[in-house]
């Protein structure tokens, strides 16, 4: 535990891995906050989450095997030390710690603990709701709800904690007239000879940067390399059953909407009144109708075989038998922010034209990140990007 007064010597306090960890963690945290709201950026959000998690795991290891000031036992202070430190700030005794001060140390432990809680609850949400990641399918859709609530709550708590940590840095910097933010970049602080200077461990720092850079490329290179007619799909949903007679019959006039988008009773009613299918007579023969029904019954929304099936089904009252997908409250809520002008675009035209924006509409998986509005880029869609850079030239 270092409690030195400011000396005249430059000492390396934060080795390169610790600094790289800190700033990559900040970046991932910001990235996750910016990408959580719009489903389209789920791939960015999960990238940020995995990076955040990986960095925390590294920090746990570095807290045991790392250099002097990075080791947990170097900044394990009891409540008395924290209280004494805070009291000191208001009195005469402004102690200066070269490594983490007691209050800062508690913040670090809380940040790491809550960060782990955040990312692990996130993994449960990803596995339960989206059926992706290592926990895919282990948690059911319904079981994932409390994990989602935990994830959101912890995210806000962590944001508050980051704010407190940031305030602490400012206060400490002012009290001791030193730039602590700069120290987290340079790694050095002024200290007397009693404070050891640590090894920089440049190789380990460079390795972390390289691994994260490779992960960036693996996650997002597809956006640049995919041909325009076959846009990149960051997520491939669970494979749902397809059926040739269904595809053939439906796609004669419109998208072959997957049966998992409406409950069994809806498909039964639609096929029972096929001579007046939204005004048209389908003139399907009996054998075809019974084939279509058999397939619809085995794959309807009530069976909840996919996220969209679960969402649609749990938003339809048992007494309701919607005949249009666009009648369902969940569908309406998900599409309410889309401007009327956008629907009129040539590439879209109809609300039944799911495939215009959803790259996997035909497969029925409707992956969050597999959608884009034709003719628009992220620069048109995201408010803060638009504010920063304006819209991209078409």
């Amino acid at each position: 535990m270092e409690k030195d007064q400011k000396g005249g010597q430059s000492v390396l306090v934060w080795d390169l891995p610790t600094r790289v960890f800190h700033w990559l963690l900040v970046t991932a945290f910001v990235m996750a906050w910016l990408s959580y709201e719009d489903n389209r950026y789920l791939d960015v959000h999960t990238f940020a989450g995995y990076t955040f998690f990986g960095l925390l795991i590294f920090r746990l290891i570095w807290g045991v095997f790392g250099t002097h000031y990075a080791r947990f036992r170097e900044f394990s202070y009891g409540p008395g030390a924290v209280f004494g430190y805070i009291k000191g700030l208001f009195g005469e005794d402004m102690r200066r710690y070269i490594g983490h001060n007691p209050a800062g140390a508690w913040a670090i432990f809380a940040l790491i603990g809550m960060g782990l809680l955040l990312t692990i609850s996130g993994l449960f949400v990803l596995g339960g709701e989206e059926r992706h990641g290592p926990l895919a399918g282990i948690v059911s859709f319904r079981q994932s709800v409390p994990f989602r609530e935990t994830h959101e709550f912890v995210a806000w708590m962590l944001l508050a904690l980051v704010f407190i940590h940031f305030c602490g840095v400012i206060v400490e910097s002012l009290f001791h007239r030193e730039n602590l933010v700069g120290a987290m970049f340079r790694g050095t602080k002024l200290a007397d000879t009693a404070s050891p200077s640590v090894r920089p461990h440049r190789l380990i720092g460079a390795t972390i940067v390289t691994v994260v850079a490779a992960y960036v490329i693996a996650s997002f290179a597809g956006y640049l390399t995919a041909p325009a007619e076959q846009p990149y799909q960051p997520f491939k949903g669970p494979e749902l059953a397809m059926n040739d007679p269904w595809t053939e019959a439906c796609s004669e006039c419109h998208l072959d909407f997957h049966p998992s988008l409406l409950p069994m009773r809806s498909w039964e009613k639609l096929l029972a009144q096929q001579e007046d299918h939204f005004g048209d007579d389908l003139v399907l023969d009996e054998a075809t109708v019974s084939d279509l029904l058999a397939y619809a019954r085995k794959n309807s929304a009530d069976l909840e075989q996919s996220e969209p099936a679960w969402r649609m089904n749990s938003n339809i009252a048992a007494s309701d038998t919607p005949l249009r997908i666009t009648e369902v409250s969940y569908w309406k809520r998900k599409h309410e922010e889309i401007d009327a002008q956008v629907w009129k675009r040539n590439e879209i035209k109809s609300k039944a034209n799911c495939g215009a924006c959803h790259l996997d509409a035909k497969q029925g998986t409707f992956e969050d990140a597999d959608m884009r509005i034709p003719g628009e880029t992220a620069f048109d869609e995201i408010e803060w990007l638009k504010a920063l850079f304006g819209t991209t030239p078409k």
Partner: protein
């Protein structure tokens, strides 16, 4: 050179065959219609009916075959409600047209009901085919 020549022959044979199937299918259907009481078939009459507009009883909108198939049969059409692209109807650009009896029957039934509000008579269907096969 030899293989390219081979390809040309295969393609030519295939096209001729497709033409044969087309002629066969249209003939078969027109004979059926005659057996059901239709008389001489006229491409001009077919075209006239193709363009003719009909008022939809419910919506009050006017529809013709061209509403979806557009004025140029060699170009793709578009489903009036769903916007789904319809392949060109002219056999001269779409070899698959007029080659499948079941398909033709199904769409005569659907489209006549949609546009005319009733099934077409054998005479009308024969006239339509007479017009379409020359496109």
């Amino acid at each position: 050179m030899k293989s390219r020549f081979g390809k040309v022959v295969v393609v030519a044979l295939f096209m001729a065959l497709a033409g044969q199937v087309q002629a066969g299918v249209v003939d078969t259907l027109q004979q059926e219609y005659k057996a059901a009481g239709a008389g001489h078939f006229s491409a001009a009459k077919g075209e006239q009916m193709w363009i003719e507009k009909h008022k939809d009883a419910d919506s009050g909108k006017e529809f013709s075959c061209q509403t979806c198939h557009t004025a140029d049969l060699k170009k793709p059409g578009k489903h009036e409600k769903t916007g789904k692209v319809i392949d060109p109807l002219a056999p001269s650009v779409n070899k698959e047209r007029l080659t499948d009896i079941k398909f033709i029957n199904k769409w005569f039934l659907r489209n006549c009901k949609q546009v005319l509000g009733r099934e077409c008579t054998p005479q009308e269907k024969g006239d339509f085919l007479e017009y379409l096969k020359g496109q």
